[in-house]
């Protein structure tokens, strides 16, 4: 058995989630190699080589892979992946974009967003917005899998000394090109990896009111998320959406402010250790999953929370 893990990165640094994917690979067993496809991504390869449990790092450093265009990266992964029993990637927007393309090229039925490894061919994954957990067994020769990073504790980022091998060939399918990025800038922690997340919903009423949440978040070192309703209404950017079809988070503490608790939202945060809900409607479904519920008007409760945190922290 041998596992090829596709590195999650931005050409500059290796994303922490890659360490969680390597952890899932360890549970499957066998040698673990990491593939870094990018442009000017030498530092990423070095970081991957230092991760615990990695045998070899393959680096394809070429303009064709600079923007993670699925057509190009998938062709490379499908070719290099042929020699492995498993190909794993993060269930991020990049992994979700690239890996099904790889699976189709290898005639394999992908297993999406696993949260558990039972054996080398049997995995657990949530379906129906997390309302059911399926255990599925694959009969494909090469198992192509995306992994929910929050479901696996990361391996150590340092201590490994894998060999780094360059791949020369560039696959440019010539059907797609990068135009531009408009990335949301934030000094706060990333949603996926933050240990505290505070999210706002439709109850926030507008984007300016999110300032209240940002102040509490900065006091706690927290990331800020949102419900779909808050994103659709234009209060905050799309990458802040938590839920079935947004980001999946599992922090130590999740604070839901002015969020009703629709199943699609719960799918994204019910793996959190401690959940706090602040909502003026005591019947709101969010209270059914909250460890601590505060029935209150958020416009009073959130400033009071900031003041209280300033007192005790």
């Amino acid at each position: 058995m041998s596992v090829l893990v596709i590195a999650e990165h931005d050409n500059v640094s290796l994303k922490g989630a890659t360490l969680n994917i390597i952890a899932a690979a360890k549970k499957i067993g066998g040698d673990i190699d990491v593939l870094v496809a990018g442009e000017g991504c030498g530092a990423v390869a070095q970081a991957a080589a230092a991760a615990e449990g990695v045998k070899k790092v393959l680096v394809a450093d070429n303009a064709a892979y600079g923007h993670q265009l699925a057509e190009n990266v998938a062709a490379l992964v499908a070719e290099k992946g042929k020699g492995y029993s498993h190909i794993l990637a993060c269930a991020s927007t990049t992994g979700k974009d690239v890996l099904p393309r790889v699976a189709a090229l290898l005639d394999s039925q992908q297993i999406s967003e696993i949260i558990g490894v039972e054996s080398s061919d049997t995995f657990q994954r949530p379906i129906y917005a997390g309302n059911a957990i399926a255990t599925v067994q694959s009969s494909d020769a090469i198992k192509v899998i995306t992994v929910r990073p929050t479901a696996f504790d990361p391996v150590a980022a340092t201590g490994g000394a894998a060999a780094v091998e360059a791949i020369a060939d560039a696959k440019d399918a010539g059907v797609s090109s990068f135009v531009k990025d408009e990335m949301a800038k934030s000094d706060r922690p990333e949603l996926g990896g933050a240990s505290i997340v505070i999210s706002g919903g439709r109850g926030m009423q507008n984007g300016d009111n999110f300032e209240m949440l940002y102040r509490v978040a900065d006091k706690l070192g927290a990331a800020v998320g949102a419900s779909r309703a808050a994103v659709d209404a234009g209060f905050v950017p799309n990458d802040m959406q938590v839920g079935q079809t947004g980001k999946i988070v599992a922090p130590q503490l999740y604070v839901a402010v002015g969020i009703s608790g629709a199943i699609q939202h719960l799918a994204g945060m019910s793996g959190s250790k401690v959940i706090v809900a602040i909502n003026k409607d005591e019947e709101a479904p969010i209270f059914q999953v909250a460890d601590y519920g505060l029935v209150a008007d958020l416009f009073e409760a959130v400033p009071a929370l900031e003041a209280e945190l300033n007192k005790v922290l």
Partner: protein, 249 residues
């Protein structure tokens, strides 16, 4: 240009799925079914392209049991021109769906193919990408803006850090995200008109595709239940509990 849209029949998004007692799957008997919400967005986008004069014909395809014709009729009522039903009672996996769609693409020769990004039942998020691979086309997943000009399409995609725009040569595949558009409702006269629009039925065998599943579902269980905790009376009590009881701040 012809636009092909793939729509799936799934559990209505308002219904909470219940696991069967024998752990073989989710109970779908007497459950409200509907078009997958991301597919509604795909149909809406195709219809808007037609209204803008970019598309000349909108063909909608669904793979599933006889009842999936309801979702095709809905799409026809929303403005699609023709339906193709690939009828099968097998629960067809994403790879096989992509192979069936490829056969339809070969027949219909669309310039643009729009799918949802994700089925809300299997939560797979695979089919569009797989179809793009099998056809050798470019793909733009999680679209929030689609602009066709000449022989190319520019698509803004919702990605983890924000928005990314790519350009693809046509024919190409687009999968929809929530912010692409707000789907309209079908009017009664359009629902009546839809009954007269053409709907072809074919079988997977007609299309030469083997739909035998690759994955075996060993069991389906409920997730570990979270129980409701306590209500706190004040912000002071909340902070004290978080600090001293839960020890998370």
């Amino acid at each position: 240009m012809k636009v092909l849209v793939a729509v799936k029949r799934v559990i209505d998004y308002n219904v909470k799925a219940r696991v069967k007692a024998d752990q073989t799957g989710v109970d779908l008997s007497n459950v409200k079914m509907a078009m997958n919400p991301f597919c509604e967005i795909a149909v809406e986008e195709a219809v808007r392209l037609k209204e803008r004069g970019v598309a000349t014909e909108v063909v909608v395809v669904s793979i599933g049991p006889k009842a999936a014709q309801e979702q095709i009729r809905t799409a026809l009522a929303l403005g699609a021109d023709k339906g193709v039903h690939v009828e099968t009672d097998v629960e067809v996996e994403a790879l096989a769906v992509a192979k069936l769609l490829k056969a339809v693409v070969e027949k219909e020769q669309p310039g643009l193919i729009i799918l949802g990004k994700q089925s809300i039942d299997t939560d797979n998020n695979q089919t569009g990408q797989m179809l793009a691979a099998l056809c050798g086309y470019g793909q733009a997943t999680f679209a929030s803006e689609v602009t066709v000009s000449g022989d190319k399409v520019e698509v803004t995609r919702e990605v983890d850090g924000g928005l990314r725009t790519v350009a693809l040569k046509l024919p190409a595949i687009v999968t929809t995200d929530l912010r692409l558009n707000e789907p309209r409702y079908a009017s009664l006269p359009n629902i009546m008109k839809a009954k007269k629009k053409p709907l072809e039925t074919v079988s997977p065998a007609d299309l030469g595709v083997d739909v035998t599943p690759r994955l075996k579902t060993l069991k389906v269980v409920e997730p570990a239940k979270r129980s409701a905790g306590i209500k706190v009376a004040s912000v002071e009590e909340l902070v004290s509990k978080l600090k001293n009881e839960a020890k998370v701040i």
